[in-house]
């Protein structure tokens, strides 16, 4: 009886629409499809880049050509035709905006519709936003306010022009251009993304946030984010993303690099809601992302929080290299897969310095025919005296057609290390639902309540302004899925 009933409700739920599936009708300048050295010259020229960066891109492209496709992942790698993608798309009205007045109203409207108003009066107090539309940054808010404290928050294209010394020093320093196939591709063709620099001793007074939107058909989005927190500084950064509903798959291969110097702290949060494809698994974003941070100096701290609800395939392991003594890394994750979505995500913590600490909390939620994999690596090097790790990895199953998988790897070369791993798998029980129903709470609300309770430890890590949004997103993306 349970099965019949849950299938029925699941069917209802499967018909739920993706909320952000609209397309903005705006004249775009789109690079011809295909990938070659020409493409790189094209992008580099469009962006009026210095020679060194073009050379770097070209080396990355060579590296990309030499790498085989990976096979270790827990899903079948879809055949991505790199020649069928356009690697650059920008609104025709001009890629550079001096002020919001110059931005095409259709673009502003798009972001407004997504709940991201770009005029500063309407913005959430205390949140600065960089809005990226396909390949270009449309607007960065509160730039001037931040500048007063020496904080640089701009698109990476602008940073290349205005702060080449910083970009040159740190770009590719955490994720080298040869790191992996998709990181190489990104290095070769990245178009835009955010750049953040927090000077020594400065505590960034507001949340910095980037909103990514894919709009154009047959394009990929290859954004590159670089965040540098100088000694004793602090920054909290959040990214959000959506895309229109399309029948074909679109590739999103981003690279994010974080550098925390001595006593600095970076908190990086992601609320990922790319188009997940329809109930038959048609369409959706391939979200193949390389995210890595380095705690370069002593006592540095990097914390990743991610709420992953969208994308046909989510494939990423936001990691921390714990180089400085006493540095610490955290990873908090909620990943939801439903319909035919796939997630293969987790983290890597490299303990290099002494007394380094890491904490991993992963909460997988699988519904429909979704497959959810946690993959994690905790590595303790010979010098890492007294390294500590705690990993908790939970899976929640909704229905009986989904799957949860865990691949925790632990490698320790130092016998003073203490590594703990806890894992649980649970199902939303008929008993739990009946209990909540009996108190007058309908099933959809009951599921939302249970799931939010389950994910609470992770949601609590999000900046206040976004915790509520993320909670809503979780409820919406699981509407009607019952087991």
């Amino acid at each position: 009886m349970e099965n019949n009933n849950s299938n029925e409700i699941l069917d209802d739920y499967i018909d739920k629409e993706y909320e952000f599936g609209f397309v903005t009708d705006i004249e775009m300048e789109v690079a011809p499809k295909g990938l070659s050295e020409e493409t790189i010259h094209y992008i580099s020229a469009k962006k009026e880049e210095p020679e060194w960066l073009k050379e770097w891109r070209l080396k990355a492209y060579q590296s990309f050509l030499k790498q085989p496709e990976p096979h270790w992942q827990n899903f079948e790698l879809p055949n991505v035709d790199f020649q069928a993608i356009s690697y650059y798309a920008a609104p025709k009205s001009g890629a550079k905006y001096k002020s919001l007045d110059e931005v095409d109203p259709a673009l502003l409207e798009t972001f407004e519709k997504l709940g991201i108003p770009l005029s500063e009066q309407k913005l959430l107090a205390g949140v600065a936003v960089d809005a990226v539309f396909d390949s270009v940054s449309v607007a960065t808010t509160f730039k001037e306010t931040l500048k007063e404290q020496g904080i640089i928050f701009c698109s990476i294209s602008e940073a290349v022009k205005e702060h080449p010394e910083l970009v040159k020093k740190y770009l590719g320093s955490v994720v080298p251009y040869s790191d992996n196939l998709y990181a190489s591709l990104n290095a070769a063709v990245f178009s835009d993304g955010s750049f953040v620099y927090i000077p020594k001793g400065v505590r960034c007074p507001m949340e910095l946030s980037t909103y990514f939107r894919i709009n154009t058909q047959n394009t990929g989005q290859f954004e590159r984010t670089l965040i540098i927190a100088d000694e004793g500084s602090y920054v909290s950064y959040l990214e959000g993303c959506t895309a229109p509903k399309r029948d074909e798959n679109q590739l999103h291969a981003a690279v994010v690099e974080l550098i925390a110097l001595e006593n600095a702290e970076i908190k990086y949060s992601t609320v990922q809601n790319w188009y997940p494809g329809d109930k038959d698994g048609k369409g959706g974003i391939y979200n193949f992302v390389t995210k890595r941070g380095v705690c370069k100096g002593a006592n540095a701290k990097i914390s990743w929080t991610q709420v992953e609800t969208g994308s046909a395939i989510t494939w990423k392991y936001p990691s921390v290299i714990l180089q400085g003594d006493n540095s610490s890394g955290e990873f908090y994750s909620v990943a939801v897969t439903r319909n035919k979505q796939v997630a293969d995500t987790g983290t890597k913590m490299f303990h290099i310095g002494k007394n380094t600490r890491s904490r991993i909390i992963s909460k997988g939620i699988s519904a429909g025919e979704g497959q959810n994999t946690y993959r994690g690596l905790v590595q303790v090097g010979t010098r890492a005296e007294n390294a500590r790790n705690f990993t908790q990895c939970d899976s929640l199953l909704i229905g009986d057609r989904c799957g949860a998988h865990t691949f925790p790897y632990i490698e320790s070369k130092n016998n003073t290390a203490m590594i703990e791993h806890e894992a649980t798998t649970s199902k939303i029980g008929e008993d739990q639902l009946f209990y909540l129903n009996q108190r007058g709470i309908e099933t959809e609300k009951a599921v939302a309540l249970i799931v939010n309770g389950y994910a609470r430890e992770v949601l609590n890590q999000l900046p206040m302004e976004f915790a509520v949004e993320a909670q809503k997103l979780l409820s919406i993306s699981l509407e009607g899925s019952v087991g």
Partner: protein
């Protein structure tokens, strides 16, 4: 208030309730007793709407409405409350958040606005004191890590908060020590009024010393085989259940 006529239900092909008849009016407390496996908890589950049971015959009216036609949550919103024999744990969901959600769902059904935060706090405090529920437990995750006794007391606290018309207590006394039993019973007695009614399901007469029923029914083999007043409970305590299991019902 509640009118059960010839109710038959079972799981898969196994018939468990074989024709229950029961009338409950406002202001009354009915005790349902019976040996293990007689169908007591099944009756509670069927009334609350648990889907594992299939109703195969009979009818149930609750305040004039066909109860069996309603989904589980609507039965609750109409004012039917089940105090569970085994309350479930829901990790990460605070007791208080859960209760506010429940209360507001019920209010919405009755076309009342959501309760405001201040009023809710006041109500929580009042009810928590009324049923002597530990204030610390109010903010903890729903039943998570609660002792058996704490879970049962939480059921009574919820009962106090949601103020149902009809409360069914399913073996609320099982697993309670004498002090907890007294607290739980006191809570129920304070909540009794001429507007609400209780069905108290229990295996032992002990609970009925504290919650004095107006009527006692003996359930055996899916039927109510004997009804009486509180003296019947005492008789059962003395003589056991064997004497009611005798001839007349052995052919079913």
């Amino acid at each position: 208030m509640l009118s059960i006529k010839n109710l038959q239900a079972g799981i898969d092909d196994k018939q468990i309730l074989k024709g229950i008849n029961l009338e409950v009016n406002a202001g009354e407390v009915h005790a349902i007793m019976g040996p293990n496996g007689s169908g007591k908890s099944s009756l509670a589950s069927v009334l609350a709407g648990r889907e594992t049971y299939e109703v195969t015959g009979g009818e149930v009216y609750f305040d004039g409405k066909n109860l069996l036609d309603m989904p589980v949550e609507d039965r609750a919103r109409e004012g039917l409350f089940l105090a569970f024999q085994y309350p479930v744990e829901i990790p990460g969901v605070s007791n208080i958040n859960f209760l506010r959600t429940a209360l507001n769902e019920i209010r919405a059904y009755r076309q009342q606005p959501p309760i405001d935060a201040k009023e809710f706090l006041r109500l929580t405090k009042e009810k928590q004191q009324l049923v002597e529920f530990d204030a610390k437990l109010v903010n903890r995750s729903l039943n998570e890590g609660f002792s058996g006794g704490e879970k049962k007391r939480n059921e009574i606290f919820q009962l106090a908060m949601l103020e149902p018309k009809l409360a069914i207590l399913d073996e609320t006394d099982s697993g309670l020590d004498i002090d907890a039993l007294r607290v739980v019973s006191n809570g129920v007695n304070k909540l009794r009024s001429d507007k609400n009614a209780f069905i108290v399901i229990t295996h032992y007469q002990r609970l009925l010393e504290y919650i004095v029923p107006d009527f006692v029914h003996v359930l055996y083999n899916g039927r109510i085989v004997k009804s009486g007043t509180k003296e019947l409970a005492l008789e059962l305590e003395e003589r056991g259940y064997d004497w009611i299991k005798e001839p007349a019902y052995s052919n079913s």
